[in-house]
């Protein structure tokens, strides 16, 4: 296949850098993610995993490098043949393809569950109220919360809140879903259910998924690829089986030894 017809990767980071003042959180990330891949991102806290997702979601602006989504630059655009900083409209058009689920759910506390899920489809995607409601009901059924449509977030458990947040993101039908430590704030007995849901989402569609996680079993058994982040760089980019049985780097081995002994 020649270059001109080859489909660009759905996500491409090129020399991506992010610094908060003197603190360099991302120090040159180069990686391509093909469409439909389910990628687990692991690594010690502070290694830049979440920041990578946040840059892709446009919650943080990069301080260097490039982000491309389906071959289009996210933070710059062409004007009269020159690269200029992207306009809000440009960012919004590309951001439409991406959605994110957060560690602390970030549900809208003043809206009932059903409205949490219908609000953006109505006002961002332009669905009719009926279409949005039907869509929301089907996703809330998928996450097992059909009986909570009229509850407020405060009346739900952590696990239920996270399921609503997942349904809310799914209802946007994004091509790319970002999951930022979505089980880290949950009680241990609720983690399994949310991870099962992630597996179900992976099986049920061809969505590209980037999952920042500390759940090593999930990373090993349920993802197509594992990235090991360390000190702002990708130390290892590997097949999930190999990284857990035979990691290339000592840092990876150390990290896995520590975390696996904790999770054993």
């Amino acid at each position: 296949m020649s270059d001109s017809t080859e489909k660009p990767p759905i996500i491409r980071f090129q020399g991506l850098e992010k610094a908060f003042g003197d603190l360099k959180v991302l120090q040159g990330i180069d990686i391509d993610i093909p469409e439909g891949q389910c990628v687990s991102i692991i690594g010690p806290s502070g290694s830049g995993k979440s920041t990578l997702l946040r840059v892709l979601m446009t919650l943080e602006e990069p301080t260097g490098g490039r982000v491309e989504v389906e071959g289009e630059s996210l933070y710059t655009m062409k004007r009269n043949g020159e690269e200029v900083p992207a306009s809000r409209a440009h960012i919004s058009r590309i951001r439409r393809k991406i959605c994110m689920v957060f560690q602390h759910f970030n549900l809208f506390p003043h809206m009932k569950v059903i409205r949490n899920v219908t609000e953006a489809p109505i006002h961002v995607l332009g669905l009719s109220k009926r279409e949005a409601r039907e869509r929301a009901e089907s996703y809330l059924e998928m996450v097992g919360l059909s009986d909570k449509l009229n509850a407020y977030p405060a009346q739900l458990s952590g696990g239920q809140k996270q399921r609503v947040a997942i349904a809310r993101a799914l209802a946007m039908r994004p091509k790319i879903m970002l999951f930022d430590e979505i089980t880290s704030a949950l009680d241990p007995e609720l983690v399994g259910g949310v991870l099962d849901l992630l597996r179900e989402i992976k099986e049920s569609g061809d969505m590209t998924m980037l999952i920042v996680t500390h759940e090593m079993k999930f990373a090993r058994d349920s993802s197509d690829r594992v990235l090991f982040f360390d000190e702002g760089v990708i130390r290892e980019d590997s097949d999930p089986k190999r990284i857990f049985t035979n990691p290339e780097h000592d840092r990876t081995r150390q990290f896995l030894d520590t975390i696996l002994s904790e999770q054993a």
Binding site: R88, I98, H104, P109, E119, Y152, R168, M172
Partner: protein
Amino acid sequence: MEWQWDWALVGHILPELARAFRVTIAATVFGFSLALVGGLLLTILRRSRWKIISWPAHFTVEFIRSTPLLVQLFFIYFVLPIQLPDFGGMFTSAFVTGVLALGLHYSSYTSEVYRAGIDGVPKGQWEAAAALNMSRGRTWTSVVLPQAIPPVLPALGNYLIAMFKDTPLLYAISVAEVLTAAYQIGSQRFQYVEAFTIVGALFLIVSLISAWLIRRMERWTALPAQ
């Protein structure tokens, strides 16, 4: 001669004072509506990323808060029509001037109140809105303001009552509000006590009722228990 409270006089002047009190209420309602909208506008402008927008809004708030309402009132009523004759027509109505001055003055206070409410909305809410690709406007109307305003309703309510109690200042530009009417009645008959007592009582009653209503409203708008 011993002075005596004159009930007959009370009965006689009460209808007139009540009519004038309607002007007081109208000035409060219009003035505060203006303050609610104006304050929000100032708050949003102050949050602009562009200094050319945020700085004038900052300055306006500081300026208004640092000068007395009575001076602002005189300025709008007496100075603007001379300095800006083209717009002067707007300010020849004492009532309109009074409402504008009250509204503008209290905008600077409500703006501070809104700011506190908006600062209280967690960052994660803005991020969730961004992750759902909501526009700026939609983020404000669907996500931020519905969470920012209920907690600050008591503070807004306090300013409503404060503005209500400031309306007698409009006497200074001859708006036919209740204090102006009471003063006229008093000076016609040299009987001030009844008229001013009624004015005081009217303010007291309405303030107390408003305070009670505001407390009720807080309960209606409260989110379900966490």
